[in-house]
């Protein structure tokens, strides 16, 4: 029996909402700070507001991010370049509950480009998972950077209708203490509705 014919023996456990009461269990002190003082690469801040379809901020959502380090390495054994990783202290995962105004905030580094399907190269991006009361399952999107020349040929951005691409490209905000700030709002709404991905 080949692996293709081998039936899945176990049905997947379904998603359920994280609900409104996760705060004592899931977020942790420093969960939104991915960098220490000696991390290599360009430190950045990623912020954004989570807004419902009525335009109201969502204060009880949770955002997770996953990203490569400044060199484009994922801290994971399935990255074929895993053995070469120099920045062992940078994990690339963060978790942040939204505040009363619906904002999330991460301190991280600007990720490097990573390989994409075939011979393609993916522009620097941060994967985002959005959870909350009223979200029966996680919604997935990405934050790209407004100044990256690689965006043009990015294989994932190429799957989005051109009018909606802007919803996954963060905007450059005024730097704080010399650290660049990028903002990506997450919206369930009209013309500015964020593109969410089925992965």
């Amino acid at each position: 029996m080949s692996h293709i014919q081998k039936a899945l023996t176990h049905g997947l456990t379904p998603w359920q909402t994280v609900g409104p009461f996760f705060h004592y269990a899931l977020p942790w002190e420093g969960g939104n700070t991915l960098v220490g003082s000696d991390v290599s690469g360009e430190k950045i801040v990623l912020i954004g507001q989570v807004v419902d379809s009525d335009g109201a901020p969502i204060p009880d959502a949770m955002v997770e991010i996953w990203q490569a380090d400044a060199g484009g390495y994922y801290h994971h054994p399935d990255d074929p370049r895993h053995a070469e990783i120099k920045d062992r202290d940078f994990i690339g995962f963060g978790r942040c509950p939204t505040d009363e105004e619906g904002f999330y905030r991460f301190e991280t580094v600007r990720p490097g480009p990573v390989s994409g399907p075939g011979n393609s190269v993916q522009a620097p991006h941060i994967a985002i998972g959005l959870f909350g009361r009223g979200l029966l399952r996680r919604l997935v999107t990405r934050a790209y950077f407004p100044d990256s020349p690689l965006n043009e040929a990015d294989p994932v951005l190429g799957l989005i209708t051109p009018e909606r691409v802007a919803t996954v490209i963060a905007s450059a905000e005024p730097p704080v203490d010399g650290i660049p700030v990028f903002r990506l709002d997450l919206r369930f709404q009209g013309d500015c509705e964020t593109v969410f991905f089925d992965v």
């Binding site: 456990t13 994922y74 009223g134 029966l136 996680r138 919604l139």
Partner: protein, 234 residues
């Protein structure tokens, strides 16, 4: 670079918009999801970082206060597997729940039921090499919510799993066998009946400890990855 993708979660996933659960109406996308291939970004993910990621482990949730929490002590254990039945070792399992009276320690929980000073209702551990986990806790109560008239959540424990990659992330809820509230609960019912049953734990006399606590078994199945090309040879 092409990667081996994880199974896509199709039939067992609830929709984002399920109007019987009223909060989904303003909190769901109007546009369809854009399907993308799983890339290196999605097949990698946070795994096995232990203490660096999370607060210290808590497996016995009845030992966090000065005294024993009130309610029915239970053991909740099981395995984290992938859809081919392979264990998911060293993965973080985080759980949270209300107390026996149906109240969360949370400033926004307005339910008029007593708090228990000896119970915070949160635990986290990593699975062993066979994907096993085990918690000691208190059976949570049902609680009312404002979704519709006379709305009550069935007793449940919230579970959060990371798995091996970004694509395997799962947050779910464990229910208890025989609970009549399950089939009238809009959150559970957003999942089709066959898959809904996968969220119901089973009572297990073998993990029940004599004179001490009932045992419930709850196995969780995460998206699995296609087998590697190496295993495909022969």
């Amino acid at each position: 670079m092409d990667v081996l993708p994880y199974t896509r979660q199709i039939l067992s996933e609830p929709p984002s918009l399920y109007p019987a659960y009223t909060s989904t109406v303003s909190r769901s996308p109007r546009q369809p999801l854009v399907t993308i291939p799983q890339t290196l970004t999605e097949v990698t993910g946070p795994m096995a970082f232990g203490d660096r990621l999370f607060r210290p482990p808590v497996h016995d949730m009845t030992r966090q206060g000065k005294g024993e929490p009130l309610g029915e002590r239970i053991i909740v254990s099981g395995r984290i597997l992938d859809d081919r039945g392979r264990p998911v070792p060293s993965t973080v399992v985080e759980i949270w729940q209300c107390n026996a009276a149906g109240r969360y320690i949370h400033k926004k929980d307005q339910h008029d039921a007593p708090l228990d000073p000896n119970f915070t209702g949160q635990g986290r551990i990593t699975t062993d090499e066979e994907g096993r986990y085990r918690f000691i806790t208190i059976k949570p109560g049902a609680y009312p919510w404002r979704n519709h008239h006379n709305a009550w959540r069935p007793a449940h424990i919230h579970f959060s799993l990371l798995g091996r990659g970004f694509a395997t992330r799962l947050i779910t809820q464990m229910y208890f066998p025989g609970d009549p509230l399950i089939d009238i609960d809009p959150i559970a019912c957003a999942v089709p009946p066959e898959a809904r049953q996968r969220m119901v734990s089973r009572f297990d006399i073998d993990t029940t400890e004599s004179g001490w606590a009932l045992g419930y078994v709850y196995d969780i199945v995460l998206r699995g990855r296609n087998e590697t090309p190496m295993e495909n040879v022969k």
